[in-house]
Each structure stands twice: as structure tokens, then as C-alpha cells.
Symmetry: C2
Subunit: 248 residues, 2 copies
DNA sequence: CGTTGGGTTGATCGACCTCAATAAAAGTGG
DNA sequence: CCACTTTTATTGAGGTCGATCAACCCAACG
């Protein structure tokens, strides 16, 4: 899978950001049909492209931080991003992982509700919030699209509330794997091997568990032949069993 | 507080729905400035009013159910509503409580993502999803408003993820009380006494706790003079302390 | 009245956390 | 390429917070 090549990219030295425009051409953009751009006609796509800045960072770089003014919005074209909130005492809650095609800044509010940093090298189309907001004002169908993506995000957040509030550790892990599999499938097609660009700590902070619990349960699922742990990813052997654990 | 009069209304016999239109007149609607209607000009308000059906149910009645086609959307004018998801084995996660001014059906999708039932007698402006959706299509600024309300919902959902994933039981209770206080303040002005139209079980299902834990911690906060438990509500004595427990 | 639903309280249990050690992998500099 | 550090992952032993199980109270209501 294309997605599985990313771990290699990790080895770029920090600061050596690949010297490329994030998309040479919106027409041939690999994530166009997944992203907010799916709502646009060719001519509109061109107009929007004029406002776009190629954006590109290496792993571990910060895109933006919680409570800071949100000057930019991003349409992610490759790589993955961790979205999280910090409590004053350092506890962390990961509120989501952004994958190619995802839009950061859907709500177009003044301040960032969370921090975002790159888990892998990331490319994106960047817009100033102002530019993007003004463009949206001239294209009601784009606003519709934005709204429907926000509605989808809300639905995912509510599913996550069920997972956090009412599921056991094992069910949380299974739900996480099944959910991620579904998201990768939209992007790069169905596969039993799914990339895990995030650390165990990140997974724990997403599921309300400790690193140790995540590690133990992944090991146990592997011992019981439900999964195989591979470098930077996981292979799902017994999808039905995982789905049973995760079922709504 | 007006809101505190609701518990008395609870004693209406089921089936005896108060015989009144939910709002005689949009112009004088008490929740207009809070609700989706705030985006509308007087003439638009009139147009929308033509599509509206007065909706009115008693406590414990169902508004709509998870996974059913969402034929209607609602603009809540009085009362409160429990929104929840059920797992196949009966575990329940309350994903939110809707209060006057809240809109149910923000995302305008085909199927309900959760069930909703009245905690108190409820009045609302009801629209068919079709009617409302078509109306929205003619009013981009209304779509903007809808989107901004959805963005706000998303933000609340993410805050709830932090509460569910990374807070202790005591912090959960404090966050819940402080959060609800803030919401009631928007509706009926600041007050130290906040109505709790929901049961301890509902609070537990919202916070990922059992009834017993909710009860124990409320009792403890009361014993320590942080709150006073009153019929169908709570009086916050030591707001600073609760805010410290709840702080972001 | 008896029944029912909601709330409180106590005793006990266990899932997950904490603390600690080790292992494995990735980055760094000579 | 090899030593060294740093980061991430795994595993074990023991503790704890909140769950479970059970009893009881009380107000509402038929």
C-alpha cells in the first residue's frame, strides 16, 4: 500500500522538507474526490488553487497550537496528523487523527480548539482562514460540503464518546483498529494491513488508556491470532472477531 | 428561575400535552436570539414559520430513535431532551442534553445518529427535514449559522472526549455542573442554582460512571459544602473550587 | 395502602493504573 | 560503521479508583 511507504519517509532529516508543491494540479490530486474539493467544478477548483499555498512539514513538526489564533486552514494531501488537547497538568486527550483528504479548520473559528502535529511528513494545501472563508461565502455548495464534513466529524466524535465512556480496554482497541481500517480503506482501498503512524502513547491518549494497557492488549490480540504486529502497522487476521468486539 | 418551574410540570398526566402552539409568534420567541433563527430577518422568519409545526410532548416521550429515518428536525423552545446511543448489550452513552434554543438535526442526514427523549415536557418548532433543507438552500446565511452551530457542537463533543478519557470521577462531576451552569446562564441568566432535569443514571451515562458513583460524589461535594442538593437541581456554593476541578 | 422508580449507602471486587525494569529501535556523532 | 543516547515498546508486580452487588429509604402514584 502507498500508505505503508510513509514510515520510510520518516527517515528524512528534520528540516529537509521535500522540495515539491503539495499538488502540481488539482485536476490530478489524489485526494480531490475525498476532500472538500469534491464539491467544486473545474473552474472553481482553479480559483481556489490560486488562493492555496503548498504546505509541507516533516514528522513531529507542529501545524498549529491549541488556543492560538487560527490563521490558516489546511486540506491534507499526504501524511497523518495528531490532534490533541492538553490539560494544565499535562494529561493529554487525542481528539483525532487526520489522514489524507481531511480538512483542518472545518469550523473556521478564531482560535484553534486543539493542537495539531505531524506524525509523518505531511503535505497540504494551505489557505489563510480569511481567504478561504471569503471564498466559501461566494460558493454555497462548498459551504454545504463543509457542513456535511463537519456533521460527519461530529458523528465520529459521538462514536468516540461511546468508546471512551462505555467500552472496555479490549473493545476500545478493537474499535480503534476497525475504525482506522475503514478510514484507510476510503483513501487507499481495503487492506488487512493498516498503517499505525502514531505511537502506543498516542493510541492510549485517544482511547483513554495508558501506554502499558495498549501494549498489553495489542500483544494479547496478537498472541490470540486476531492481529499481527508489524513495523509501523498492524495486520488484521480475524476481522470478524474484532468487529464483534467493536460492534455498535 | 423559569427553568426551575419545570419540575412541577412533570406532574402533568402523560397524554395531557399542554394545549398551546409552541410559539405564538417568532418575533417574541424567547429563544430566538439563541437559536438557529438568530440568523434570519423578520420576513425570512415569517417564511420559515409557515413551514413550522407546533410540537409538544410530555416527559419521557420519545422524539426520535437511533438509526430510524430522520424525517423531522426540531428547534427546541422549552424543556430538555436526553440524547443517547445504545450498545447492543444495553450499555448506554448519553451524548448530550438539549436545552431551549438547541437545534436537533443540525447535520441534516438521512438517519438519526442517536435517540432523543424528553426529560420534561418539551415544546419545539418542528420541520420536515425536506422542507427545512430546501429552505436552507435558499438562504446561505442560514446555512452559515447552521454550520457555526454544528462547529460549536463539535467543540463541545471534543471537550466531552477530554472529560471521558482523562478526568477522574470527581472532576467529571465538577465539569458537568460547571458546563451545565454555563449553558443555563445563556438561556435564563447566571444563577447559582441549576436545574437537573435528568436522573443520576443519565448523568452517569453522560460521564462514563455508574449511578452509585455519581450519587456518592454528589453527596461528598455536598458534605464538603461545595454544593447543596435541592429537588430537581443543585446549588453551587463554591464555584471557584468546582472550576478548579473542571479547569481545562 | 402496595408498588414503582429514583436516590443513597456499605462491603467487596477487579480492570486498569502505577511504578519499575528491560528490550528493542531509531537517531547522533565520531 | 560502531558506540552512545534517546525514544518507544514490552512485561511484571502491586495498588487503587470506580464498578458491582446488595440493602434500604423515600416520594409519587394508582
Amino acid at each position: 500500500m502507498d500508505a505503508m511507504t510513509r514510515p520510510a519517509e520518516r527517515h528524512h532529516h528534520l528540516g529537509l522538507c521535500p522540495n515539491q508543491k503539495s499538488t502540481v494540479d488539482c485536476e490530478h490530486c489524489r485526494v480531490r474526490t475525498l476532500s472538500v474539493c469534491a464539491a467544486l467544478e473545474p473552474d472553481e477548483l482553479q480559483q481556489l488553487d490560486k488562493l492555496s499555498h503548498a504546505f509541507c512539514v516533516n514528522a513531529k513538526q507542529t501545524l498549529f497550537e491549541q488556543d492560538e489564533p487560527s490563521n490558516n486552514v489546511y486540506n491534507l494531501t499526504s501524511g497523518s496528523v495528531r490532534l490533541y488537547k492538553l490539560l494544565p497538568d499535562g494529561r493529554r486527550q487525542v481528539v483525532g487523527f487526520a489522514l489524507p483528504g481531511d480538512f483542518l479548520g472545518l469550523s473556521m473559528v478564531e482560535k484553534n480548539a486543539f493542537s495539531a502535529d505531524a506524525l509523518t511528513p505531511v503535505t497540504a494545501c494551505q489557505f489563510t482562514r480569511q481567504d478561504f472563508s471569503e471564498f466559501v461565502d461566494t460558493k454555497p455548495h462548498l459551504l454545504r460540503r463543509l457542513h456535511s464534513m463537519a456533521a460527519h466529524e461530529l458523528s465520529l466524535a459521538q462514536d468516540q464518546m461511546v468508546i471512551l465512556g462505555r467500552r472496555t480496554a479490549e473493545e476500545k482497541i478493537a474499535s480503534f483498529l476497525i475504525g482506522l481500517r475503514k478510514r484507510w480503506a476510503r483513501i487507499s482501498g481495503a487492506s488487512v494491513t493498516i498503517p499505525l503512524p502514531m505511537t502506543r502513547q498516542d493510541i492510549g491518549d485517544f482511547l483513554g488508556l495508558t501506554v502499558e494497557t495498549v501494549s498489553r492488549l495489542m500483544t494479547r490480540l496478537a498472541r490470540e491470532k486476531a492481529i499481527v504486529i508489524v513495523p509501523d502497522g498492524v495486520r488484521l487476521l480475524d476481522v470478524p472477531r474484532l468487529e464483534r468486539l467493536a460492534e455498535t
